[in-house]
Symmetry: C2
């Protein structure tokens, strides 16, 4: 077993604090990773606070993990010591069901083992996330990362990157297409960068006027301040696709109105209450409202390779482990441009 320093929440109301855990020694198909950086995702906070159903405490968050291979099991051929690697939102699945066979392990019909707040395939061993110095993961669920790139800015791609890349890619984003992005936070800023890198024209929708210069700098051509309903009028029927990253409740109707015929509005944020949808907003113009959840391993690798090729990385603020609790408060208030990333060396005592 590998002694590992981490940060954990011990209950829904306690701050995160230093914690020790043990990672398994690599089995024949495992990769032992020394974590270099781990991003702070809004999901970490929801789960730490027990806001998304039951949380298993002690709870170690973190599913935007990058690091270096320390050791590999004897059957592992894809990785060797020193390789740069990433781990995203899940670390195992059955591998046999139709979802796994079609490379959508996040929808495993048997058991997706999520990186935290989950149990291993044995049905009992809890999983602990990347706010820690080491992690052991089955080789098939480990991603390759190219050398010579800003590693700390790659960490957020493992969740924010794939969450936005997957629907952008699936629904045909390319030159000539017009993409709307609702919300300019961790997910939103990645959606803007990736949509631009794919060649689309991007319109950012935000409740904050002060985000306009940033939106433009990130690559958006247009900016709609959504607090005034009249601002939507000149955008009616213009967009092919909307990536909706907002996890506060918001009226979907004006956004559906900005879609072209057959356009698609994809939810990747989870508002606390259900959204009201007018049937006529979908029927007239035969529009689509959909959801999307991260992406499979194959697609995540494709995204990492795409981002490496296009030099698309997250804009981040690098912090130490002792700054996690303050970072949580600032993330909740939207006071980060655009992702906190923890330097994993600082988990050491």
């Amino acid at each position: 077993m590998i002694k590992t320093n981490a940060y954990a929440a011990l209950s829904a109301t306690s701050a995160l604090q230093p914690f020790e855990l043990e990672r398994r020694s690599p089995r024949s198909d495992d990769v032992l990773i020394e974590i270099a950086y781990c991003g702070i995702c809004h999901s970490d906070i929801h789960t730490a606070r027990g806001e998304w159903g039951p949380t298993l405490y002690p709870f170690v968050p973190g599913h935007e993990i990058v690091g270096r291979v320390l050791a590999v099991g004897k059957k592992v051929k894809r990785f060797k010591m020193g390789d740069l690697v990433g781990v995203g939102c899940f670390v195992d699945s059955c591998g046999k069901c139709p979802s796994c066979k079609s490379h959508e392990e996040q929808f495993c019909l048997d058991h997706t083992v999520f990186t935290y707040n989950s149990v291993e395939l044995d049905g009992k061993t809890p999983t602990y996330g990347g706010y820690s110095t080491h992690i052991t993961v089955r080789d098939k669920y480990v991603l390759k990362i190219k050398k010579g790139l800003p590693l700390e800015r790659i960490a957020p791609l493992l969740c924010a990157g794939i969450t936005t890349y997957s629907p952008l890619k699936r629904y045909g984003t390319k030159k000539g297409k017009k993409v709307g992005v609702i919300g300019l936070g961790g997910l939103g800023h990645m959606a803007v960068k990736i949509a631009r890198a794919m060649g689309a024209e991007v319109t950012v929708f935000s409740t904050s006027a002060e985000k306009e210069p940033d939106a433009k700098k990130l690559g958006a051509k247009k900016f709609v301040l959504t607090t005034n309903p009249e601002n939507f009028s000149s955008h009616r029927g213009k967009l092919d696709l909307i990536i909706d990253t907002v996890s506060a409740n918001h009226d979907l109707s004006p956004y559906l109105g900005t879609l072209k015929i057959a356009g698609l509005h994809v939810l990747v944020g989870v508002p606390p209450k259900p959204s009201e949808v007018e049937a006529m907003d979908l029927i007239y113009g035969r529009k689509h409202l959909a959801g999307s959840l991260i992406g499979g391993i194959k697609e995540t690798q494709e995204m990492l390779d795409f981002c490496a090729r296009k030099k698309v990385f997250a804009d981040i603020e690098l912090i130490s482990a002792t700054g996690i609790n303050e970072a949580y408060e600032r993330t909740i208030k939207g006071q980060v441009k655009y992702r906190f990333v923890i330097d994993a060396k600082t988990f050491l005592p």
Copy 2:
């Protein structure tokens, strides 16, 4: 001008009554049609009663029209006297916009001229529907109907048929696919027949236990009585596509649960209030909620040809003009199997 006997509502609260109007003499690209039959669509009732926004009175309903060509304009090549023809929900459009050019005239970006409660492209002449003896329509908006088929049972295909055919076809219904149909009324019974004719396995969802034998007779393999939530449990994750024909408010969540990963729930009915949609019901399994509105002329012709080939016709109750008001009451109560069709001869005094 052609003197035409019809039935009209003179106000939102008056019963339909005999009415006289004039149809234009055929222009060079017009077809003058002697109407044989006209279906009663629930939309007729909503519009007659002013329930769907402003209605122009006097209002002559009817957009499920079949008849025979009486005369054609001198440039008309596709039709000749005596041909069997149909007219659906619209009778003209700009013909030049991207929607028209891609054969979706129902979404004309300039002006779709609907068959009733609309104005012609001149912006002022009101349109009157098919509860009448004659209608004059531009040749491009007239459908061909094959001879030797039960004409009165074809009338409802012009709205109920194309409304269900279009999403079934678009979203890949064929052998090996599993299709759910919510509601077994005018639209629902067509959805079952067409999905079966395309080769799919059909599951009917209904609030009425007594509809089960009928659902099976129409071709459904499975029947789910939706009044008991437990009845959904054995159907989770089974369906590729749902056609939702219900125009009363209903909880979408259990239906979204019956979809496979990437499955699609298509609304063709318009409930009076917005539907509540849980983001997680779409995100987990990356499901889609969409709408669909009738179909373009090209697709409507394709549907008529498909139904002729497959011998798919509506189940109807043939009535006289004097029975329209009673038929309206029975349609609202769902007491028709499954479509009232008016014999247009009975509009004559």
